[in-house]
């Protein structure tokens, strides 16, 4: 058994223990117990590109949550562990503490200490500004699942907006599909050998600041981040056996971000932009035991996304809402595995039936404007079956013919996923 799978088992055992403990704790009076679990089945529409990959993939997850408050609700504690068990991919079987957070709320300030989750931004197709939490990339293609981030955060609430400061004492590495997983480069990313620019590695202390304000029909946010980049660069190298492998390299960066929303009648205009600059222009240091990367990547770059959401309420004399979404995505980097959005257009339709079961369907197409053969698309639908059960349907589609395009690696990974989730 490899070290990785042992780690996974230890983590999952730990999480199971925590969940069992949580159950018994919730028996006491003032603790609210809630959560969800689900079973999902994925089916890939094409044969796998790489020999170890499956055609179908079943998995289940459990995410209970415990909440208690005291001091008339001014203090609260939330604990939300998470476990995923995947039938095929040992890297996708993983556990995490999504939240273990103490919140002290006063009239005009808030203090949060522990493991938490923070969302920044306004756009739908990309979340450029959002940087506090690491992406739990094995969970979903959309990148919206996040790992719990250790933090101390102070928010000052003022009539001129809210100002939040974050100290992030521990870095979470991104998750990646393993050898038996799909949706990955030809060689899996070896998450057991991460490379850090900082000598403190994952213990490097990161800092962030954000100001956010609503001004009539505007929502404006400005943010700054200093620390370990959540998005690694992938370094191709050879392991001890002389086999190719990809190592994630986490650089030190500074990032400024702005996010803006304007509401005007049935139009929502949304915009986000970041400028991300490397602390140093170091590539990989030879001291890390890895040869320097031959080509220097663009390590200082600008990226932006902007567009609108137009909602037709009561579409065609029904009670349906039909939302039309369009966003343009720009990224100065070219052909980076994590930046397929370098000059792309997203077109989407969100259909809300406004029925008892809260049925919703979102369909979108993302077209590369530089290459008509490179595009991606997705569908997300869900509806309630009973008060506690919900079904979900997701589908992702990728097309690329040019080997230099980021989507080329996953061009055979079109898949649909059906799931049922139970909420308690």
């Amino acid at each position: 058994m490899t070290k990785a799978s042992l780690d996974v088992r230890a983590n999952i055992a730990l999480a199971m223990g925590a969940i069992a403990g949580a159950f018994s704790l919730s028996a006491s009076a003032d603790v609210t117990f809630s959560g969800e679990f689900g079973v999902q089945q994925r089916y890939y529409l094409q044969d796998a590109l790489y020999p170890t990959q499956p055609r179908a993939q079943g998995s289940l997850f459990l995410q209970p949550s415990l909440y208690t408050e005291w001091n008339e609700g001014y203090d609260s504690l939330v604990f939300t562990p998470f476990v995923r068990l995947d039938q095929e991919d040992s890297e996708r079987s993983h556990a995490d503490i999504r939240e273990l957070l103490w919140l002290h709320a006063a009239d005009n300030w808030e203090l949060r200490v522990g493991i938490g989750k923070v969302f920044w931004g306004q756009t739908e197709s990309l979340h450029l500004v959002d940087i506090i939490n690491q992406t739990d990339a094995v969970e979903s293609v959309d990148g919206e699942d996040k790992l719990g981030q250790p933090m101390v955060s102070y928010t000052w609430l003022h009539e001129y907006g809210s100002l939040s400061a974050y100290v992030l004492p521990y870095f979470r590495e991104r998750t990646f599909s393993g050898l038996e997983g799909r949706l990955r480069p030809p060689v899996p990313v070896n998450t057991d050998k991460p490379l850090f620019e900082s000598d403190d590695e994952e213990s490097n202390v990161d800092f962030a600041l954000r100001w956010q304000q609503s001004i009539n029909s505007w929502e404006v946010g400005v943010s700054f981040f200093h620390g370990t980049n959540r998005e690694p660069e992938l370094i191709g190298t050879l392991n001890e056996m002389g086999e190719q492998e990809l190592l994630p390299f986490y650089r030190q960066i500074n990032q400024v971000g702005i996010d803006v929303l304007n509401v005007s009648g049935d139009w929502l205009w949304k915009f986000e932009a970041i400028y991300r600059a490397a602390e140093t222009d170091n590539a990989i240091s030879p001291a890390m035991g890895v040869p320097l990367t031959p080509e220097s990547e663009a390590i200082d770059y600008f990226a932006a996304v902007g567009g609108f959401e137009y909602t037709l309420v009561g579409f065609m004399e029904t009670t349906y809402d039909l939302g039309i979404l369009m966003e343009y995505q720009y990224d100065e980097r070219d052909n980076n595995f994590f930046a397929p959005a370098q000059n792309d257009l997203m077109l989407g339709v969100r259909w809300a039936l406004n029925d008892q079961d809260s049925t919703e369907v979102l369909v979108a197409l993302i077209q590369d404007l530089d290459d008509t053969n490179s595009r991606g698309g997705f569908i997300e639908a869900s509806s309630r079956m009973t008060q506690n059960w919900r079904w979900t349907l997701e589908g992702y589609f990728f097309a690329a013919e040019d080997p230099l395009k980021p989507l080329y690696f996953v061009r055979q990974d079109d898949h649909i996923q059906f799931g049922v989730e139970y909420f308690f």
Partner: protein
């Protein structure tokens, strides 16, 4: 609302707006506005309230689904009220919170907090005519009654449930309203809205709201503990039952802040 503003509006109605309502009688419009103004003034000064409610949604074939929600309201004397609604069930939306600032003349401001992704989203203004969580109530039906939102006309005097009432026609001034007009049955004894009939943009009857089980709070303020909205076109209905209602709960205006949605539980 200030008395000064009201009298200004009375002048406006009698001098300027008269021409645009050829069918309505000058006196009946003035009387309609007077009743609406009195209805509002009798309901001023309540401060803040906190309610626990159950919404029962029934579709045309009689299938029911329920939602448990908590609503906090804060009275704004110079403007529309502020309200925070938090869902406790169905469980998949538990913790979802709506914050709304209702405005008399400007578009309302609304935000929704989605706990699963910790995201606060602004809602488009026009969504006000859309259904509130799949119920027969529209967002705009959930916001506070403000005199400035409508033009008024007294249609007739009538009896409702054995009580003398005025039937007032209200025409929304907001282009984003889902209604061409509403008819409101206001009882003469307490100036309470007892029944409201809503007409769609084409002028056809759309919904009817019956308000019942009125209880008196702070010796002055009447609140219905049960109301049922029936969709006349689809046969669907939604009953809103108030299980608990308290006033002067100690909430402050600053608690109705979208930055504080993340701590709403």
């Amino acid at each position: 609302m200030q008395i000064r503003t009201v009298s200004l509006m009375l002048v406006c109605v009698s001098l300027l707006c008269a021409g645009s309502y050829a069918h309505a009688d000058e006196a009946s419009k003035l009387k309609g506005l007077e009743i609406a103004t009195e209805r509002k003034s009798r309901d001023m000064g309540w401060g803040d309230s906190s309610a626990e409610a159950t919404m029962i949604l029934r579709n045309a074939s009689g299938q029911e689904a329920s939602r448990e929600l908590r609503m906090q309201s804060f009275e704004m004397l110079e403007d529309g009220d502020k309200a925070l609604t938090i869902f406790d069930s169905p469980k998949d939306v538990a913790g979802t919170a709506f914050l709304s600032f209702s405005h008399a003349r400007e578009p309302d401001e609304q935000w929704i907090y989605l706990p699963a992704i910790k995201r606060v989203k602004r809602i488009a203004t026009k969504n006000k005519s859309g259904p509130f969580v799949g119920s027969e109530f529209a967002f705009e039906d959930m916001t506070s009654f403000e005199v400035e939102k409508y033009d008024y006309d007294l249609i007739r005097e009538d009896t409702f449930d054995g009580e003398a009432v005025w039937v007032i026609e209200q025409t929304p001034k907001d282009d984003f309203s889902g209604y061409s007009k509403t008819l409101v049955w206001v009882d003469k004894s307490e100036y309470r809205a007892r029944q409201i009939e809503y007409f769609d943009r084409k002028g056809a009857p759309l919904k009817i709201l019956v308000l019942e089980d009125f209880r008196l709070y702070k010796d002055k303020y009447w609140r219905p503990h049960s109301s049922e909205m029936i969709n006349l076109q689809t046969g669907k209905s939604t009953r809103l039952i108030t299980n608990k209602l308290e006033f002067d709960t100690g909430v402050k205006e600053s608690d109705f802040d979208k930055s504080k949605l993340r701590r709403a539980r």
